[in-house]
Symmetry: D2
């Protein structure tokens, strides 16, 4: 159950609502975000919710049967739009494109990528500076220095930045430099990280876990939302299956399912999703046709020489072709 | 290794080629289809294939590293087109649509479905008369009688029929009534059935196994081809994964991968692929955008009352909308 | 619902019971096996089953909530024992061991294997004469001739035979030569084959499908049982997962779960289960400790030269060690 | 490549070895643990390792083809023994048993559990005070206060503690109170956490990821080892598969495979592994038979009233029976 509270609700009113809901046998949690205040009730006993709905201080009340509550579309049918400033939005009915290298490698690479994005009117650049790697001996990213270099150039060019945060201590380090914090597939259920991201006011994009269920992805988003941050984006990035013809199995099915279950924007990552360069374009276009609000993919001026993910990275001409086609596919879908 | 033989090759020439290939340490199989004759060599020793290429009776020779040979695109880059007669083709650069109920249930149902297809200029009807069911107590289809009833009406209306064959003895029973034999997901590796389907001259559509790899699907197609029947179609129909938000996980990735690996047409089955009615359209459109040559899906005049698969069956107005959109998506893809 | 009928029940009584059960809204199926006669009722409406229980001709009546009925332990708590004659039994409280090559290859191989089995007091020999192979170009077994050769020697030595049947037409060919028909993992849901095996009076061992659920395995057994053949054995042989450190993932969990859900004996196949020779013994012993009634595994006088499955086949000294340890592990388990 | 350095090696010698290895085209990492010093070389060029082996300061040198190096059994055949003090060891050839509740709940619960363990001569108690929960609204553990209460009683009773650490900041909080840090399945690839655990001198048990490969588990252990902490234990706790008859699929296969690939002790967690109380014992015994060095499982004085994991928790009488049987199974295995 979600009780939306009036902005003007007094502490006394809130406390009264809380005890009335608790009296019904519900465990209550008070959630305060930048956008509103909610009382979440977890329980199973059925009762007439109008009893609570009529209390002073209550703006609205919704029965939500899902285990996740605040991210459910059962109470908020209107789609969430994420505003990055400077007219860059995600989930606003236009196609969002986020492109860039797997890892930030050098000033030259940043410049080349920004030029490529600007030429193609793409306003969000992806790139990793803290890299999660299976082996401790692999390249782990340029770190904070790389991020500063990058953000300087991106801000100058009017390009927004999305980059992965791996641990709580990096949130403060990255805060001034990124426009969207990305939670990677290995951290989808890093609950402490999610808790902390609930305390900031910048957008967070959560990737589905490597073998995460959609239910788990939505519950992870619920962590951030219930922590106080409503600016959330979900990302499908392929799951682990028995099939080894591709690196991962992009779960295109997840896209229409998520769009039905949540009001949050849904982004597709075809690069990790299928993991093989020659199939990135068809999977990107298929994901858009299936309902994605945008795509995030890897591109590099010389994919063969990329420090990481060379196998799944597009060169700039492939990237340009994808952008052009993606926009046409999106327009056709929107015309339906 | 595939040695394409001249139509005019003499038995002596063939025997000479065979022994020369065997001499290289290769196990040989002579394959004779309605369209040509091939000598397949299985082995690993490397040698200059021109030695064989120059022998009398050899039309062409190809090195094929895949485990499957004749269905590989490594030797036959030109796409296979399946001709059902009366200008109905699959894989010819137009979108193929096959629609109809899960099970053939009654004359009235057949009539209603045919009328729906004709109205929408769809020329292939799907339907099951022999139904594979997990439980022995479930409805197993109308059988041969249902098929006769159906084929009579379909032929009168100029509609082609695709229907599932479950065992060898049904091939003869069905032969005069179907235009495409379908091998279901539980029979993808029913090798005896595949062997027998290699001996007929009607098209066969093989569905991917419930947890079949793409390699296995291609090897199953190789059974039919090497048995003598080149008229083959592959079908992606969803795989079994840990995710239970949908009945199956439609593996859209399989489509561009198969299109690269084989010259055979690839059809998408979004009904079984995702298994939930409200997502059939987006998954169908996504599959087309990913490169499918066609779609096969379930539609019924009253899905709620269907004998089977009610949960994943479209009603006729949903079906009509899907057909219209599918054609637009296909046209956009072909314009790329 | 299962209604056990009296052996002496008249046709009139049966017909009366049938219509009374149908009147309750249940779909009825009359099942006649070599051991008894049952009326299966499929439906959901609740009613007092004593109403039926008191009818003349009814021996007993059971409510069974599982989708499978006759193989459920909910009505038959007593474990099924399979009698192969000559004091060879499966599921009788002693450990069953079935060993032999993947494929029957030659007379010498048969002799060597039989000698190995007799030396170790193993009374059931496994071996394939009809081999399901992914590729049409692989060795497909010696066929009927191989089986005759084998059965002649086995019968002379007092050894029982279990061998895979791949299609309906092979049942008659194999009938006089095998003691247990094995249904392989690719045929677990070959329903026509299961139907036909329900019509014979020889034991059938059904392997779990490559990605089959336990529910599906039990439903496949229900096919054979409801077809008239109660002599059923189930076999866990590994499932397909994302993990590629072993060929398959032996699902040891399946063993205690099946033992709880069904009265049929459960055999473990560690050779296919894990697929790597060095791990066959620990997985075999673990399976016995988990509750298996027996094991089936591959052994060959020279595994490196086996026509198939060389990677997972034990040599005779490894086999002997496994047999000795398996019996000790079984004895310890039975002492609990 | 692993170069073991002499304890007496001078900085100059180390630097010389490092540059010689780098000259061969290898990327080098110097690892210093409480037990020794190693130079890890990552590269592919082949050369005669004796060239390095003869350098002053080198104690030994090993070629290790695995991606993980220091945890591989390819260089260290001798099994690692973890010493918790007071004669409590893991991997020393005796069976390790770790038992206790899912969550620490109360003083009474701690007392009851300790009494149960002492009665059965079990010297390690498990329990969670920081609980990773899918939903933000679920019970998240008693936290630091619970841990203090627990460790006080455990130390007084001579019982060792293993408990899960979820984030870097908890390491210091927990350090004085736990004997083994547990890394949970959702944090197996939380690389920052692993890095930090490499800097401490207390044992760490890493659970396999929810769908983690064995390769990934070993690479995660390599993080901690290469960070400086050799006191490592691995734990198999079930993987996520398509099968839903049990909560997870305990991968018993992982046990013999890990024992072959690494010198670290391997513990089995049957409670999470299969997730259903009635099957915990057979799966625990099977895991021991398959080669596990020990088991960790959940027990509670009143499982039905446990705050979490009630479905998979044994009561004390079930626990006692498991302990007795586990020891007999272990003894039999060791007799082989």
């Amino acid at each position: 159950m979600i009780v939306q509270l009036h902005r003007s609700a007094t502490n006394e009113e809130k406390s009264n609502i809380d005890s009335k809901v608790a009296l019904m046998g519900y465990k209550t949690t008070l959630v305060k975000t930048q956008m509103g205040e909610y009382l979440i009730g977890i329980g199973k006993r059925e009762f007439d919710i109008r009893q609570i709905g009529r209390l002073p201080g209550v703006a609205d009340i919704h029965h939500v049967s899902d285990d996740y509550k605040l991210v459910s579309r059962k109470w908020k049918v209107k789609r969430t739009v994420i505003d990055l400033g400077d007219n860059v939005q995600i989930g606003n009915g236009a196609l969002s494109i986020m492109a860039g290298p797997c890892s930030i490698e050098s000033e030259a690479q940043i410049e080349a990528t920004i030029a490529h994005l600007k030429k193609n009117k793409v306003s969000i650049m992806r790139g990793g500076v803290f890299k999660p790697r299976s082996s401790p001996y692999a390249f782990r990213g340029l770190g904070k220095e790389g991020l500063q270099l990058w953000s300087q150039q991106a801000q100058a060019a009017g390009i927004k930045i999305i980059s992965e945060v791996m641990q709580v201590s990096q949130i403060a380090e990255m805060y001034d430099h990124v426009d969207v914090f990305q939670v990677g597939a290995r951290n989808t259920q890093n609950f402490n990280l999610l808790d902390e991201l609930g305390r900031i006011d910048k957008p967070v994009m959560i990737k589905r876990g490597i073998s995460g269920t959609l239910e788990e992805l939505l519950s992870s988003a619920e962590y951030v939302f219930s922590g106080g941050n409503e600016k959330l984006i979900l990302c499908e990035r392929g799951i682990r299956t028995y099939e080894k013809a591709s690196r991962n199995t992009m779960d295109v099915n997840a896209i229409p399912i998520l769009k039905e279950k949540t009001h949050l924007p849904v982004i597709a990552d075809p690069s990790h999703g299928i993991g093989l360069r020659q199939y990135v374009e068809p999977i990107a276009l298929a994901s858009i046709m299936a309902g994605a609000d945008g795509i995030i993919y890897e591109t590099h001026q010389q994919p063969e020489q990329a420090f990481s993910d060379a196998m799944q990275t597009l060169d700039f001409s492939e990237s340009q072709r994808l952008i052009e086609r993606a926009r046409k596919v999106f327009d056709l879908r929107e015309s339906f």
